[in-house]
């Protein structure tokens, strides 16, 4: 009976450094997001995550990878890059790039050199295939016999047809390497008993095709509520030697600012995001408590970290009212 993988979302509550050198920051998902992740794991469907920029879409996947492989990662038995695969989609991306790339140049070079010097042999066809993140992930599910984690980041950046080119790969977990003639090696697939767990993020810049959406679960990450915001900031700045009450105070003030922005701005317009807040706190908390309180008694200090256009600066006093 296979063990059931579950994600509690409670394992990454402080900064961590893995033996391989990777630094991980705290990630605190809310309950419904946790449920969404677990459902995606059980049903074997990709999880499509949308939300404002800076809300933590991209960081979710690595936090899941960490939790599922926590023991082995902390023990140094495996590296993060063995179980977690990131594919950052660009506007020029083609679906095949995530699977593999055939190194024509190297092959041509070998062919030419081989003609000059017969001692220089050509490699077998398959070795000119350089696998991309998705291709590697499929391979690893066989090598490790575990469900690895894949992130396809900002899928809406690419052509509108791009998601449709991945349908077969996501559904059946198979792909074909066209350049290889050996039928045994052409067809590549993931370990169907241990399929990879796929996370897909989108900034909602373009509409995604319905055929693709059907195959995904969908979750929208909202800006955290006040108490959640406080927990997030406390978790991030535990080592800063600042009092928790001060951090809670910061959270409350920022939350007021955010609410005001939500009320006065259009839905599509940019408002302060979670990641900007964390950056802002990072700078602010370098001062001592007295200085911080002094800074907060007027307009928001370091406003340039929070507000990215001129009109938004009018919100720098919002935390003082009411």
């Amino acid at each position: 009976m296979a063990e059931i993988l579950t994600y509690s979302g409670r394992r990454l509550t402080q900064k961590l450094q893995l033996p391989d050198g990777t630094e991980l920051k705290p990630y605190l998902p809310d309950q419904r997001l946790r449920e969404a992740v677990n459902l995606a794991i059980i049903l074997g469907k990709p999880l499509l995550i949308k939300g404002e920029p800076g809300c933590g879409k991209t960081k979710l996947a690595v936090s899941v990878a960490f939790e599922l492989f926590e023991r082995q990662l902390l023990g140094g038995d495996i590296r993060l890059e063995d179980v977690y695969f990131e594919w950052h989609v660009k506007s020029s991306s083609k679906a095949v790039e995530g699977l593999y790339r055939y190194d024509y140049i190297e092959r041509l070079q070998h062919a030419q050199l081989n003609q000059i010097d017969a001692a220089i042999k050509m490699k077998p066809e398959i070795e000119y295939v350089k696998k991309g993140p998705l291709g590697l992930a499929f391979e690893q599910t066989h090598t490790l016999n575990q469900r690895v984690v894949v992130l396809i980041d900002e899928i809406d950046k690419a052509d509108p047809d791009f998601p449709n080119d991945l349908l077969r790969e996501l559904d059946e977990l198979k792909y074909t390497i066209e350049e290889v003639s050996d039928p045994a090696l052409r067809e590549q697939s993931a370990n169907l008993k241990k399929p990879p767990i796929v996370f897909i993020t989108s900034n909602d810049q373009k509409a995604l095709p319905p055929a693709f959406l059907r195959r995904c679960l969908f979750y929208h990450i909202d800006f955290p509520k006040e108490d959640k915001l406080r927990d997030i900031l406390v978790a991030h700045f535990r080592e800063s030697n600042q009092k928790e009450s001060l951090i809670a105070d910061l959270a409350a003030k920022i939350y007021k600012t955010r609410i005001r922005m939500e009320r006065e701005k259009e839905e599509r317009e940019k408002k302060i995001s979670t990641s900007e807040l964390i950056d802002w706190c990072e700078i602010l908390l370098r001062h001592d408590e007295e200085k911080i309180l002094e800074l907060l008694s007027g307009e928001l200090p370091y406003a340039a970290v929070l507000f990215k256009n001129k009109e938004d600066f009018r919100f720098s006093k919002a935390h003082l009212s009411e």
Binding site: R32, E35, A36, N38, L39, I42, L43, K45, K50, I105, L108, D159, P160, D161, D204, K206, A207, P209, P210, L213, R214, C216, L217, F218, Y219, H220
Partner: protein
């Protein structure tokens, strides 16, 4: 599992409602939800059930209000706390469990009425569904079909009233051309030409390849791309008031599928005059027509006009016709492909200005099929 059990399942009723509202859900999605209910986390109350359904069946923020509304209506009779027995009944694991009046715990006679009415409310799409025990449906006779529709409508209207809605909100999804259809049509417009190549050599790419390979192998040609600019001209006068929402929805859809800077919009009143159009919906900022046309020609611009052309009020107005045709003649000098979308149905164009205008420009009504043809004509 007897089909009649499905008919009585709230979940199935909800699923059908979503389907008829244009959510592209298939039987696979329904089965997926049942699987999630069986294997997944706890569903203790309606809120949990709603999040679960959202996770699996909601694919876009746009559809959320309709989803929420339908959920509220479909599950109104269910108690807040869901017992395992209710869940079992929904997933069909217990085929003998039938929904009884006690289980739905009517808090008051009104709810009881609702719980008995619900099964008849679903749209019976496929013929194999058996009718519920409360109603004998004779769909052979048109009179009874009409009666059933009227009953459905009356029930729905009563629902709205009971929900406290004093007026009817026309939502985007109720239009014959819903945002989903519009998106699909614009996507088809935008679709590239595959790997088709133009006859122009892409010089930078060729040079880059020479550098990469170390020698010249072949010239690279430019990929054929759809770079069309869309020029939209919208009639925003009195007779078009009912269609403002529709025109804006159509435009928003174009702007989200093609990028924003490929769509330009202008407004006019009644007829596009030969001199000015307006840049804003309140029609205060004028813009010279000549400039609008000059600005857009030469870059493969296509023109889309949205107007009733007099068909909404059934008017036949020679001056309107003349103005419009004069404008069209001018536009045709620079723009090769143009279509006219009329929100009024085709049979209403006869004997109105629109009927005459339709002889000078290809006019399409605002149905899914015809809009698709319009788009196909704009693209080449």
């Amino acid at each position: 599992m007897k089909t009649s059990d499905h008919n009585e399942s709230y979940l199935y009723a909800f699923f059908c409602k979503l389907q008829s509202n244009g959510f592209g859900l298939g039987i696979e999605e329904y089965k997926l939800l049942l699987q999630a209910l069986r294997e997944g986390g706890e569903v203790r109350n309606k809120k949990d059930l709603k999040s679960l359904c959202k996770l699996l069946w909601l694919k876009s923020e746009m559809d959320e209000p309709i989803f929420n509304n339908q959920f509220k209506l479909s599950f109104a009779a269910l108690p807040f706390e869901l017992t395992p027995k209710t869940i079992k009944k929904e997933t069909g694991d217990d085929p003998d469990a039938k929904i009884s009046a006690d289980e739905s715990e009517p808090l008051n006679p009104e709810l009881e009425r609702k719980s008995q009415r619900k099964p008849s409310e679903q749209k019976v799409k496929n013929q194999s569904d058996k009718p519920t025990s409360s109603e004998e449906l004779q769909t052979n006779s048109p009179a009874s079909a009409v009666r059933m529709e009227l009953d459905n409508f009356a029930e729905r209207a009563q629902d709205y009233e009971e929900e406290g809605l004093k007026f009817f909100m026309l939502e985007k999804n109720m239009l014959p051309l819903a945002p989903q259809n519009l998106h699909a049509a614009w996507r088809r417009f935008n679709v590239g030409y595959g790997s088709a190549l133009t006859k122009q050599i892409d010089i930078p790419l060729t040079i880059r390849n020479i550098g990469r390979r170390g020698f010249f192998m072949q010239a690279e040609y430019r990929r054929k791309k759809n770079r069309n600019q869309l020029l939209a001209l919208i009639d925003r006068d009195g007779s078009m008031i009912a269609f403002h929402e529709f025109a804006e929805t159509l435009l928003e859809s174009a702007r989200s599928v093609l990028s924003r800077n490929r769509v330009e919009r202008y407004y006019f009143r009644n007829a596009p005059s030969g001199r000015f159009v307006f840049k804003d919906i309140f029609q205060l900022k004028t813009y010279p027509v000549d400039q609008m046309l000059a600005h857009n020609t030469g870059t493969d611009t296509v023109l889309l006009i949205i107007s009733d052309g007099g068909a909404a009020r059934g008017r036949f107005d020679t001056s309107r016709i003349e103005q419009t045709t004069a404008f069209l003649k001018k536009a045709r000098q620079g723009i090769s492909r143009m279509v006219w979308v009329n929100p009024m149905p085709r049979k209403r164009w006869r004997r109105t200005s629109a009927g005459v205008i339709a002889r000078y420009i290809d006019m399409y009504e605002a149905s899914e099929e015809e809009f698709g043809l319009a788009i196909r004509q704009l693209k080449r």
